[in-house]
Point group: C2
Chain length 344, copies 2
């Protein structure tokens, strides 16, 4: 970041928006009109549109002490487009609204926007609108993501059926362990600012928290291999919480196997240091942004060779409830203790 | 409002959303999937989509001292769908995100939502998604409005041409005068809470501020009468500011006539009491949510009989600049001093 500090007031609202979006490019033919009018216009070419929105609040969803602004911008986009992928759709546009306190300079916002722009570029998404205003306290980010999907190819949370296989992309619990590390270092820093952070051999889990990626490859794989999941959700609040949503909305039960849970070695190592079971991190840690989905048994032979996927269990009758079979072969009830920004 | 106070914590995030949206109805066939999944799904039936977003921040955009929560919910929707109408489109869906401090009870949010739902009902709009989270301070509202428009029938700010006529719906400056009255009463109340508010004969201007309506009738009229404006914008920051946007984005100048400005009698009366010229309220007062648009001269004979419209001037060459011809026949430069939430 440059050491210059330009006050936001000096540009005014319209000047600020022009400044922040000066390098904004259009990548989708569907974006007919972007930033700068009362609204943006999207051509739909006969496809269906998918819309999702998220609000991120400083000191509730992110901590500026360890979240660099560029990463925050990047992650804000990822969090939203992850919801679009979770519908089996492709993200195409976002709108971005910010409420900012005068603590932030134009240069700080430039950093934030550079992260937003980078995510847009990587995922082929157009920034088409937004609103920028003042906040009496802290930074508030609101993003609405729009995507497209071929007619009736969208996948909801409510289509899972008995005997469907439960699949998850990537690995679980890493972002939560990354967060624990950052919280620990923050505490040490506050107590003694001269101590250098001890973040060696923890790059993977930190990156999973600070700079998550959305699972676009999975959606492309579904298309190529002509597989349509019966239900799907992205993992933002932890596996247990998302399983609960799938079971509740599909009116069905489930069994998952502890030994099948994909957990990265670095996650295991660090969870152990904190004295927490890695399984707990996988089940209840949030912000993985992996995809959790169910498939019909007939698709097993395709999915088993997909490099992104682990099959972790199967759906049961509603009356069987939700269960975890532990490594020690105990059958315990699965409870959602996922991250929840309102209920403590 | 009921006198019960239910803490938001007691419901949890998902419980709160379920509670608040329990009476939510779907009005548009295009709304394939609403609240309750990772994203909503919209069928587009070959139309183009229009998307706009706005963020409203407590103590920046609204003051809870004189803004009842139901009105605030209603107005939040109007502010957004007004942008959709300003594109010559019909609003069809909104998403609503809230960041709320624990100062608000569930009952208070119910009041807010009842206003949101009422606006949705009146304007035929579906609430299809959102996010509800905590705020360390105050209330922050972010709404994204989606609309539809027939292929290439959308109207931007940039199509005005020389000799086009400048038109405005309804009347101007009333909301600003309403705000001045409420600010005055707030000050009196703070100084002496026992003084009863003196708000007689001011119902119209107060309602214009507290419960504005969007100009959907104008859009319906355009369709019926086969008129397409050459440019259009909604008046949220005052006539001068919006004229500046049209002129800048159309690369053109303008002349407007003071004597033509439509101003309600109650606006004039109250402006006089405050010692402000009514013209100043019309030019620089914000939040009217009227539509400002330009038409080709050939459409004059249609528009002159439209009951919602006043013709207030015409577009000039770029080099002629922006001018106001006063009632006293002076030609003065028009400067935008509209409300701006960032620049003081």
């Amino acid at each position: 970041m440059s050491s210059t500090r330009t006050e936001i007031d000096s540009l005014g609202e319209f000047g600020l928006i022009e400044h922040l979006t000066r390098d904004n490019e259009t990548r989708n033919a569907s974006t007919l009109l972007g930033i700068g009018d009362d609204a943006a216009v999207i051509d739909t070419f006969g496809k269906q549109m998918v819309v999702s929105t998220d609000m991120l609040v400083e000191d509730v969803h992110f901590d500026m002490v360890y979240m660099p602004l560029k990463h925050l911008g990047y992650k804000s986009v990822i969090v939203n487009i992850s919801d679009i992928y979770a519908m089996n759709a492709e993200p195409t546009q976002i709108t971005l609204s910010l409420a900012i306190s005068n603590r932030f300079s134009v240069e700080a916002l430039d950093e934030f926007y550079s992260g937003v722009m980078l995510a847009c570029e990587r995922y082929g998404v157009d920034l088409i609108g937004g609103d920028t205003t003042t906040s009496p306290k802290g930074l508030i980010i609101s993003i609405t993501a729009i995507g497209e999907v071929n007619e009736n190819k969208f996948v909801t949370r409510s289509g899972a059926q008995e005997n469907n296989l439960i699949c998850v992309t990537g690995n679980l619990g890493a972002a939560y362990v990354g967060l624990l590390l950052l919280e620990r270092e923050k505490k040490i820093f506050i107590e003694n600012p001269s101590v250098q952070p001890d973040l060696e051999n923890q790059q993977y889990v930190l990156e999973r928290f600070l700079k998550p990626e959305a699972k676009h490859k999975m959606i492309a794989w579904f298309k190529e291999n002509e597989v349509t999941p019966t239900s799907m959700i992205d993992i933002s609040d932890g596996l247990s919480s998302e399983m609960m949503h799938l079971c509740k909305q599909s009116q069905i039960g489930c069994t998952i196997y502890e030994e099948k849970l994909p957990i990265h070695d670095e996650t295991k190592l660090n969870a152990e240091k904190f004295g927490i079971a890695a399984t707990t991190c996988a089940l209840n840690g949030g912000e993985d942004y992996e995809l959790l989905f169910t498939i019909a048994p007939a698709d097993f032979y395709k999915v088993k060779d997909c490099p992104y996927v682990t099959i972790i269990g199967h759906m049961d009758k509603l009356e069987d409830g939700m269960h975890l079979i532990t490594t020690g072969n105990n059958r315990i009830e699965l409870k959602a203790q996922g991250w929840n920004s309102i209920k403590k």
